[in-house]
Symmetry: C3
Subunit: 223 residues, 3 copies
């Protein structure tokens, strides 16, 4: 990693920052999981389980894939506590919170940016190659939402929706590019998070979507 | 671990006991998987696959998360054999077995208790912290049922149903509490299994359920 | 492993062969994933994600279970590149390709054979016992298709369809048998792949199916 000024200070600061960023992302994603749980009329445990899954499945998948076990999301009690706090908030104050549609979208975009950057940084720190690190950053960002959707048996929104995964990938790619070109870590991470966050918000506001392929024969069963 | 009398004897005995308990739990959960497979008209392989998934996915998830690879469920042929035996029984004698509704519920509760206790013990033995060990005990108990339900594309029953996960969590928490307070391992494990088993049966008989949150806007799509 | 002639040459050749075989299997499975994605009207990212999942989930599951992290499918850029190439082909030329129904079935059978053999070989090379190695070979073959189907929230075809998993299991079992009896590795692998490929094609042509169990009470909910 590029640590040109004061390696030790920089490294410790980055680790602390990663934790704060991770916990903030954990909270907003847990909110999205809990809201889906309430809408699907899951019981108290179901809402809590979706909170935890939405907030932690991406990071757990990343940690399993890079061999960092037990994953931080289950070995560090702070992640669990934050996810439960988010789940409880939604369980008791669903209506007032769910009316804040814009706020929720903005927070979700922030969570995506935070997780994509933190995921790519951690993969690089574990010595993975740049392409893999970028993909794992994206997976960290979108894995929670995919698991959340699968748990209520629906096709994950990220596979059919507007620019979501692409924003995460863009942020993760900037982190990796900075790593390859020996840029300073902290400014690169901030720029990458802003890139992902901005792309995601622009996609929401302007209705940017990825193209869909044309298929002559629709609704047929697969091979 | 608390081994106040004869450490070696106690440790070996506990390990043997864990295996017996695990195999018994494997059998009853495989039964539940196979029954769902038959009901959904899966073919012979599908029924066997659901037997194996229902009986082993919880333990496999736990073993992956604590870094115990290859997981016992696939490296120890006894688990596979027991799951296949249960699947074959159901495939050939579905009707007579499925009429034993009460017996099946009682056995399932027993499996839940056995897995929750064994899962928490194994997580503690791998040096995980108490909170994580309790959660992994619960996951070991409910993971098989979640995977079984996801494989037939339905929302896992444990997320919407009566006191199921909570019973597993209660048992796992008692194991962890005993560990923290240096109680003897075997009596604690038995008490924990009975607690989980009793809670689950009481929940079935009395229709205990967890609360569901009120949501003003229903059936809307998520963020 | 049985290396009776020239161990070093044989070992290197086998490793190279495994990679070629793996990449070919990756391509055909990615095609099947991308086609399902187009049919379900997923966007560009969704199609690419299904390509990758269908081609790599089986190998990733195997690698996680045997403790080979990071899994080859994400640490070796060639797998990712091949999966993306397949996804792009389908995204832009869906109609002409999808009309080649027979070709697709044949290629899919080839992919199944290649993955089942390569999966069993890798599990043996990691020192797993023969039963586990055979099951992991099967899982490598069918895991991608299962993940592909779960991502669009449908029951995996392999659980209800014709002889698919059984063909993979037969190939993997032959690899393991050869290992136990000290047969030469390469001829055994070829024979095993042909066995799986032939079984699968015969099952398609003759409509071979596995039996389905009779259930008196249908469409009831599970325990």
């Amino acid at each position: 990693m590029a640590l040109p000024l004061n390696p030790l200070l920089d490294e410790r600061m980055i680790r602390d920052l990663l934790v704060v960023v991770d916990l903030a992302g954990t909270f907003v994603f847990a909110i999205s999981g809990a809201m889906l749980g309430v809408r699907r009329k899951l019981d108290f445990f179901g809402v809590m389980a979706l909170s935890f899954a939405a907030s932690s499945a991406g990071g757990i998948a990343r940690d399993l894939l890079i061999g960092s076990v037990p994953p931080a999301a289950i070995s560090d009690w702070r992640y669990f506590t934050v996810a439960m706090a988010a789940g409880l908030s939604i369980f008791f104050w669903y209506s007032p919170i769910s009316r804040q549609r814009t706020a929720i979208l903005v927070f979700d975009a922030a969570g995506l940016a935070l997780f994509a950057v933190a995921g790519a940084e951690k993969a690089l720190a574990f010595g993975l190659n740049p392409l893999t690190a970028a993909l794992l950053g994206m997976l960290t960002g979108i894995g929670g939402g995919i698991t959340r959707d699968l748990l209520v048996a629906r096709t994950p929104a990220v596979l059919r929706d507007d620019l979501y995964a692409v924003a995460a990938l863009a942020g993760a790619l900037l982190v990796v590019t900075g790593h390859l070109l020996d840029w300073q870590v902290l400014p690169t991470a901030i720029a990458a998070a802003l890139l992902c966050f901005g792309l995601r918000l622009a996609a929401i506001r302007r209705g940017w979507r990825l193209p869909v392929a044309r298929s002559a024969e629709e609704d047929k069963e697969d091979v």
